[in-house]
């Protein structure tokens, strides 16, 4: 069982959450307790991250287990609707209406989030588009925007209405470094008042963005803690050399002829300073 507490006040609680697709168990008895803050979900492809996020976003119902979002049970239709009024969701590779402008797209999502005050909605749509750096593109057709800009339109749509629970599936995909930094600011603001759960493959992103990290593998949460804790997992278990190390759990090239290894440190070897990458690689390997 893995329980993760961020700051005070649980906004999201899951017990033995399980989701199966035929013979495949995509999410396998996951336990969570999350409060305010940004929580990063790390894991290899096929680990079950997207399925878990879809469950947390009320898009998918779990087969087993309990789930409470913002203190409500999403299995009850009336509660689910109420949760959705306070929820923002960015799916993986979201599609948008190509003929809409970003302002129209975000405004449409706001309507479907039951914001019926037209003036408030337009003002809020402008604000979130400014926040994601699309202030100067909000009247262009979406079909004319780059992939990164479309991603930011979808992010703006997720942010509309200041959600208390924000579920983001690989939000940094397609963003350049400058946009990634802007994303951090936006998410930090949301995390001040609510819970942000995001998945990513980028460990640097996790270190910069998240107060907490969950490492997922084969449907299970195999590790949880802070990014610093994750790096510390590899303390004394990471080293560099010019040769292959048969005793290492994982080895990879870091430069011409230079290799980095995680695993049991060979005698007489000086350990390297561990990173979040090292910790993640070690944890996912040890979980298997």
């Amino acid at each position: 069982m893995t329980t993760t507490h961020t700051t005070t006040g649980t906004l999201l609680a899951a017990g033995a959450l399980t989701k199966r697709f035929g013979p495949l168990t995509a999410v396998d008895h996951v336990d969570l307790a999350l409060g305010r803050g940004v929580v990063g979900l790390l894991g290899p492809n096929g680990a079950g991250k997207t399925t878990l996020l879809r469950i947390l976003a009320t898009v998918l119902a779990p087969d087993e287990g309990s789930l409470s979002l913002l203190g409500m049970d999403p299995a009850r239709p009336s509660s689910r609707t109420e949760i959705r009024r306070h929820l923002g969701y960015l799916p993986q590779s979201p599609s948008l209406y190509a003929g809409f402008t970003p302002l129209e797209m975000v405004d449409y999502v706001a309507i479907l989030k039951e914001h019926t005050d037209r003036d408030w909605r337009r003002r809020e749509a402008r604000n979130v588009l400014e926040a994601v750096g699309l202030g100067d593109r909000m009247h262009k057709r979406i079909r004319t925007l780059s992939g990164g800009m479309k991603q930011r339109v979808a992010l703006a749509a997720a942010l509309i209405g200041s959600p208390d629970l924000l579920v983001l599936d690989e939000p940094a995909t397609g963003l350049d470094p400058e946009q990634r930094i802007a994303l951090r600011s936006v998410l930090a603001e949301t995390a001040d008042r609510g819970c942000v759960v995001l998945s990513t493959h980028n460990t640097a992103e996790v270190a910069a963005l998240c107060q907490h990290v969950l490492v997922m593998d084969r449907g299970r949460i195999c590790w949880s803690g802070t990014p610093t804790d994750l790096a510390a997992e590899a303390e004394g278990r990471v080293w560099e050399s010019d040769a292959e190390e048969p005793t290492a759990l994982r080895s990879w090239l870091t430069g011409p002829g230079r290799r980095r290894h995680v695993g049991a440190l060979p005698a007489g070897t000086t350990p390297a300073v561990p990173t979040v990458d090292d910790g993640y690689l070690l944890v996912t390997r040890l979980s298997r």
Binding site: A57, T58, V59, P77, T81, E82, R84, R85, L87, Y89, L90, P91, P94, S95, L96, Y97, A98, G99, F100, E104, M105, D107, Y108, V109, I111, L112, K113, E114, T116, R118, A154, A157, A158
Partner: protein
């Protein structure tokens, strides 16, 4: 909720793909005109029109932004109904235009069109999400094509229920839709 749906009507209409509907309507009107000029009964043309228009209406349920909109408070069923309303009204107008342009031996009411549309929607609701609209939109065309199968007995009767007993088919499809309203 009514205010939400009323405000969503305009953008939903803009987000809906109208070209397939316009193309199908054009072809069917042309077919009806040709049948009318030849002074032949248009029952087959109207049956084809019911299947074609129903397929077009159901295909309008395809929403490119469905993944992004999945967790909004306005449920998928409410959004489907909005799109069905938007596409269904013009489909009925086209139907009445077709019946005005042709002469038929049997009934020329829109019941078969409504029944086939409801069948398509029910299949869309229950089919696996990734191909739901494709499967649902194919349903009216498949039901139309199945009439031609050399069957007998109950199967033969059942394959034309959408023409002979459309309101019962509609009822069954509506029950299936209501049962799947949370999907």
């Amino acid at each position: 909720m009514n205010a939400v749906l009323a405000q969503a009507l305009g953008p939903t209409a803009r987000a809906t793909s109208w070209r397939p509907a316009a193309a199908a309507a054009g072809v069917l009107v042309l077919a009806a005109l040709l049948t009318g000029w030849s002074d032949r009964p248009a029952d087959t043309v109207l049956a084809l029109a019911a299947a074609g228009l129903a397929a077009v209406v159901v295909s309008g349920l395809h929403d490119p932004a469905a993944a992004l909109l999945a967790p909004v408070p306005v449920s998928p069923m409410q959004r489907r109904l909005l799109r069905l309303g938007l596409l269904g009204v013009p489909a009925l107008l086209v139907w009445w235009l077709l019946t005005a342009l042709t002469t038929t031996v049997g009934s020329s009411g829109p019941a078969p069109l409504v029944a086939l549309t409801a069948c398509g929607v029910a299949v869309t609701v229950w089919a696996p999400p990734k191909r739901a609209v494709l499967v649902g939109a194919s349903t009216p065309v498949v039901l139309f094509a199945l009439q031609a199968l050399p069957t007998s007995g109950l199967v033969s009767d059942a394959l034309v229920w959408w023409r002979t007993d459309p309101w019962w088919v509609l009822c069954a499809a509506v029950v299936a839709c209501v049962a799947g309203r949370q999907r």
